[in-house]
């Protein structure tokens, strides 16, 4: 990864200068606009103070305090505005990193788009009749002739929680009323990754984290998770400790989950530590949902306002390292080989 990053950083230097020159232009405009606003506010404040006779000796301290407050407010507003601008520019950095790693110039990063409902339904993992979903930061890229999608995804439901509230009538006597609160319970919050599988299958195969039931607060698991099939016990003990495998076709499950692949799936833990839901979909599709990992966290890793700061490289490296992990999964699982089926 280090080598790849150095290569990227060298290649990206010129583009980074462009990003900073764009940012500096915006910065100058924002600063000018806000400084004019600050001067107007201070003048208005001073005029008001003059009208109210506050510019006399004893009250002069309040006027200085007022001017300082206005100045601080404007500086904070400038800072917030510039952070927002940097947040917007971060989109291009993420997109460029994806393009560099995947070597696909047509890669897209759409912060406001989420995984389509068809994709989630197609996974047949989460029961959308009882659950709601949200998401953003959709990325699409072609890596080694394999189309991959990533996006932040949140699956949740609202649970009715009954509580009693005490009120008082006009005579001061207390009485209670039952109130229903809607409390949000998250089933999954993390990242959705989908890629093409190098083997063909006819039935879904589900790998559910062994401790999944911990996240179900109330109600039957089947209300929220729609996997089907018989539980299959596989040979790799470490793998069996982490996942429960369900499929309608045991031979097919073993065909996909070869001893080598189980070992490789165990190795994903070195890349992502959190809980993982894996679905091998009918046809040739592979979906992995990584609990806790979010592209939004990378978007919030902003570059410092000063292009000469050492944090510039540090932050880009952080974003690069985390985005590289998506492709590492693909490489670790060796999904790119064409040992079994023609790539096209």
């Amino acid at each position: 990864m280090e080598e790849k990053f150095s290569e990227f950083y060298e290649y990206y230097n010129d583009k980074l200068k462009d990003i900073y020159s764009k940012f500096n232009k915006i910065k100058k405009k924002v600063e000018a606009k806000y400084l004019i606003a600050m001067i107007i506010f201070i003048v208005l404040f001073l005029m008001a103070s003059y009208q109210l006779d506050l510019l006399i000796d004893n009250s002069f301290i309040f006027v200085i305090l007022g001017v300082t407050v206005i100045a601080i407010c404007v500086i904070v507003a400038i800072y917030i505005r510039l952070r927002k601008e940097m947040y917007n520019l971060n989109k291009y950095i993420i997109e460029d990193i994806i393009k560099f790693i995947s070597q696909d110039e047509s890669s897209i990063f759409e912060p406001n788009k989420r995984i389509s409902i068809e994709n989630i339904k197609d996974m047949e993992l989460f029961n959308l009749e009882n659950l709601q979903y949200n998401g953003k930061n959709a990325i699409g890229t072609d890596y080694n002739s394999n189309y991959m999608n990533f996006a932040d995804m949140e699956i949740y439901y609202y649970k009715d929680v009954l509580r009693e509230e005490t009120y008082y009538d006009s005579k001061g006597n207390p009485y209670t009323k039952k109130v229903i609160d809607k409390v949000k319970k998250t089933i999954f919050s993390g990242c959705y990754i989908s890629a093409t599988l190098n083997k063909r299958i006819a039935e879904h195969i589900y790998l559910i984290p062994n401790n999944f039931s911990d996240v179900i607060i109330n109600g039957a698991i089947k209300d929220y998770i729609t996997y089907s099939g018989e539980e299959i016990e596989l040979e790799n003990l470490e793998f069996s400790k982490k996942y429960k495998v369900y499929s309608d076709d045991e031979i097919q499950a073993r065909y996909i989950l070869s001893l080598a692949l189980m070992e490789k799936i165990n190795n994903i833990d070195e890349i992502f530590e959190g809980k993982k839901y894996i679905v091998f979909k009918e046809g040739r599709r592979f979906v992995i949902c990584l609990e806790g990992f979010k592209i939004e966290n990378l978007r919030k890793t902003l570059l410092p306002f000063n292009s000469k700061s050492s944090k510039v490289k540090e932050n880009i490296k952080y974003i690069f390292r985390n985005l590289y992990k998506f492709f590492e999964i693909y490489d670790v699982l060796d999904l790119g080989n064409d040992l079994y089926v023609d790539k096209n």
Binding site: K199, I251, Q252, Y255, S258, L259, L339
Partner: protein, 188 residues
Amino acid sequence: MYIALAVIIVLIFLVIIIYNTMLSKKNKMLKSYSSLDVMLKKRYDLIPNIVEAVKGYKEYEANTLKQIISLRSKADDCKNIEDINNLNSKYMDFMSDIDLLSENYPDLKASENFMHLQRVLNEVEEQISAARRTYNAHVESYNTYISLFPLNIIAFLFGFRKYKFFEMSQEEKDTKVSVGNFDDKEEN
């Protein structure tokens, strides 16, 4: 009297439950055996295609060719796992030969037709491997169940016998794969 009757009824129920469990395990194992058989036949069905693909590079003697093609019909005659194991060993000899051929003729290895065949073979071999693992897992579960005391007495009374595992031949273990680079091969 009633206690003795109750004990007998409980025992009969226990025997019925144990018998049904044994039968269900045996049926699962036999089902996985037939799936394995289907996969193996699929493999032998590809032999004529392989012979066709390499015919420009290797001239088989009429007798050898007949023997190779007959592997397919012999696959139909397999009655048990020993027969399958024997046939498997012959198939591996044939495939080692093809492997050697592809190493000696790079243009054969690079040909589109041969590469496609290689992928199909890899897929079939992986499916066989999966079917073998399934079969062996069921054999292990069944064999262990009928060996446990006192279940082994009931197994003996009802004629449940132990089944053999489907072993990978030595050639199969040694050969990296059928044709070309198949590095996902695994052992049971």
